[in-house]
Amino acid sequence: MDLKGKTTPAGWLIGEQVTFAADHTGGYFSDCYYVQKEGRKAFLKALDIEKFDISLIGWLLNAFNYEADLAKLCRDKRLVRISQVIEYDKVERDPAAPPVLRYVPFLIFELADGDIRATVDVSKDVSDQWRFKVLHQTTLALLQLHKEQIAHQDLKPSNVLRFSDRLKLGDLGRSSLRGKAAPHDSEAIAGARNYAPFEQRYGYLRADWLERRLSVDVFHLGCLLIFNFTNTCFPELVINRLADAYKPGVWGDSYEQVIDHIKAAMIDVLSELSEEFPEAFRRDMTDIVLDLCDPSPTSRGRAGIEKSRAGPLWLERYASKFDVLQKRAAIKPQAKNA
């Protein structure tokens, strides 16, 4: 599919196709282009209907429309920490194509400077303050979504985008709005496999929306902390530490029966990983990961909170925690005899 040179209904000129760059997040089913209008640059994500079998097109259109609806909802609700959609429409792909393939739906998003991965590279000198800032701003973005009863479900380092003034969350392609069925609802793993919560790896799905959807974001936030400081994918490390009998794909009994073994492996891994955390914040960070990545979706992220008070905003206190950690990290240690 080549949309280069075409103009969208709102007047955006479609430019070069993007292969892979750090300034956007595309998704698996879309083609991406740079677009320009009156000197302003943006990023277009078009559903690549050519790539797929015609039988899938209905499903793909549904999924794309679902994402578009969520993106518009975020814009309408002024969720400023979510990558803003500028235009959602259709563009003619090929005038000679049959009607169903003639137009491709697209979304135009504001163009980011890049995602956070390059800025949390463990082979480079990165300040702890920045790493905590990423976590703080991501938590605030998640809270904006959660307030609107939206679970992102695919929070990963490449979906945390850098803009000049702040960080924003991108790619709502796997998100879920409470009360509205999504085309991907039936999939066991909604987001990236690298960061999928343990229960999803075992095919254990809770009926409750908070536990099934929102707790995924909570888990992902814990994984983001680990990635920011160690560049490792926490769930994979834990699963590798499990005995073969308890691994996903081998274990067939209830998830509850394997949770204790996951927990033991998780603590084992964390005891080693925490050595890589800055010493001054080690205890705090370890406790945060233990809570955010709790293998039980029922208790995840709720350490110290009564279950009866469960609501969609239980990440609020983590926003404060990361803010405090960010500020503490900004304070330069004083010389002893100063």
Partner: protein, 523 residues
């Protein structure tokens, strides 16, 4: 003379979590759900997407994501490419987990994590519990280590916490039941199993409940339905082996040999070390064949040690007993067995070490105390031996162990050079064993009498040896035959070996129904 006739309990093994994880016991009873076509193709798409990204963005974080994703999905080539980039930057990264993972992907030499059961284990475990105490698996592992060090009361706190946190865990419940049995709280062990939510569906918990009920002299409510279920089955899986042997035992004891035979055959189709021991016991009565293949069952150290002992392969028996002791460090039986076997070989200083450990683990039990006394005498620790000998006269259980006690008196007298008193003690031991109907003990008394008389230079030694050579082959103890073999010429030695070999196929076990224990007899 030593006591090799201590009872064997048929209860769940208590092994560290990482060892249990390698057994059938750890496997789930249901097969895992198969991944759908959709999820597989999405996974492939995700990997190819990440590979494309890596080709453009060759940074450490992107390489890390690709490495973890590709290794998890079996794409080795991509995983290795990503790992190579990470290792190319290892100087800047430092010795971190990411580099370790990359080395593992490239099969570089990375030391495996030490699964330590050493002294440091408890310290390490406490560090991990300091990170998060809500770790029932580790709590149980720590309790096991503490129990092995005779800190049962401290271990109790860990066991209680683990059970409270993980009432649905097969590993935790079985281990906790084993702990309570170990400390003599049979009723608590039984209640724990009976109240487990897993009892209705989990064959491992059911097997434990049936076994522990028998320890309490009761018959589990589960027996009837299990007999019906397994009796009709054409084949049963490895997860049912303990359950089949547990109900097979109950059936055998109630006289239903036909049903028992079917159940034990099921148990032997995929045995574990525990069900193998049970089947061995039942083999003679039911004409079951427990073949050599069964002895290859992983972790059957105890069964193999006994088997080697009966074949008079004492060095091999010791090797298996050492592994058995590592497998059950909280139990005194393996150390007691080691003490006995080492004494047969005349390795008394090692026997003394084993006896001390067994004695420490078993408190003031009479059996290990008498074994320790014998080892002390033979190791030349005579002052302490004399003191212990006098002290043991006041032991409340001494009357049931008079044969052993008199024999130790004989050994002590020989060590002190009092030949006549030694002969008198040994004759009393032999008379006592005959009066009490203990042919095994009689064999051992005669054999050690002959050995010690010879070693001490007793002028009566030739007569004593001759008497032992005549009587011991007619008595059931394989150990006694081994001792006498060392006192005779090669022709007689071969004859004695043939006697022992002939018995291997005719082993018999005696069942103590009250305590659900097995007593090994030699036929």
């Amino acid at each position: 003379m030593l006591d090799d006739q201590r009872p064997r309990r048929v209860v769940p093994r208590w092994r560290p979590s990482w060892v249990t994880a390698t057994n059938a016991e750890a496997r789930s009873t249901s097969p895992p759900g198969k991944p759908t076509e959709g999820s597989k193709s999405r996974e492939d798409l995700e990997v190819s997407h990440k590979i494309q990204e890596f080709q453009v963005l060759r940074s450490v974080p992107v390489a890390a994501e690709l490495m973890f994703l590709a290794s998890a999905t079996g794409n080795e080539v991509a995983a290795r490419q990503a790992a190579e980039l990470i290792l190319a930057n290892q100087e800047q990264i430092g010795a971190k987990q990411l580099v370790k993972s990359a080395k593992q992907v490239l099969n570089a030499d990375v030391p495996n994590r030490l699964e330590s059961t050493s002294r440091d284990f408890v310290r390490h475990a406490r560090t991990l519990l300091g990170i998060d105490y809500r770790n029932p698996v580790l709590l149980i592992d720590t309790a096991r280590e503490l129990t092995a060090r005779r800190h049962e009361r401290t271990a109790l706190r860990y066991v209680r916490a683990a059970v409270a946190m993980a009432p649905n865990s097969r590993f935790v419940i079985r281990a906790a039941a084993r702990y309570y049995l170990h400390v003599g709280e049979h009723e608590v062990a039984h209640e724990l199993l009976r109240r487990s939510p897993l009892l209705a569906s989990d064959p491992w918990i059911q097997a434990s409940e049936i076994a522990v009920a028998t320890v309490r002299g009761k018959t589990s409510n589960l027996v009837r339905q299990t007999v019906r279920l397994l009796g009709d089955a054409k084949q049963v899986g490895a997860e049912m082996t303990e359950l089949a042997s547990a109900v097979g035992t109950v059936e055998l004891l109630s006289g239903s040999n036909k049903k028992a035979k079917i159940l034990f055959k099921h148990a032997l189709s995929n045995p574990n070390d525990n069900s193998l021991a049970q089947a061995e016991w039942a083999a003679t009565k039911l004409n079951l064949v427990v073949g050599h293949q069964a002895l290859m069952t992983p972790m059957s150290y105890e069964a193999n040690s006994h088997n080697a002992y009966r074949r008079l392969e004492i060095s091999q028996a010791i090797e298996h007993a050492v592994k058995w002791a590592k497998d059950e460090p909280f139990a005194s039986r393996p150390m007691d067995a080691q003490c006995y076997l080492l004494s047969l070989e005349g390795r008394y200083s090692e026997a003394l070490e084993a006896a001390k450990i067994a004695h420490d683990l078993d408190g003031d039990e009479i059996g290990p105390s008498l074994n320790l006394l014998f080892a002390q005498i033979q190791a030349g620790d005579l002052d302490e031996a004399m003191e212990a000998f006098l002290r043991l006269t006041r032991h409340p259980d001494i009357k049931s162990h008079t044969t052993h006690y008199y024999a130790n008196g004989g050994a002590l007298a020989y060590a002190l050079g009092y030949f006549e008193q030694a002969q008198e003690f040994y004759q009393r031991a032999i008379r006592s064993s005959r009066m009490r109907g203990e042919p095994n003990a009689e064999g051992l008394a005669r054999a050690f009498f002959a050995r010690l008389a010879t070693q001490a230079g007793d002028p009566q030694a030739p007569v004593i040896v001759q008497e032992a050579v005549e009587k011991v082959p007619r008595l059931p103890s394989a150990g006694a035959i081994f001792v006498v073999q060392g006192l005779v010429g090669s022709a007689k030695r071969k004859e004695l070996q043939a006697t022992a070999d002939g018995r291997v196929a005719k082993r018999k076990w005696r069942w103590d129904a009250i305590t659900n224990t097995l007593m090994l007899l030699e036929s």
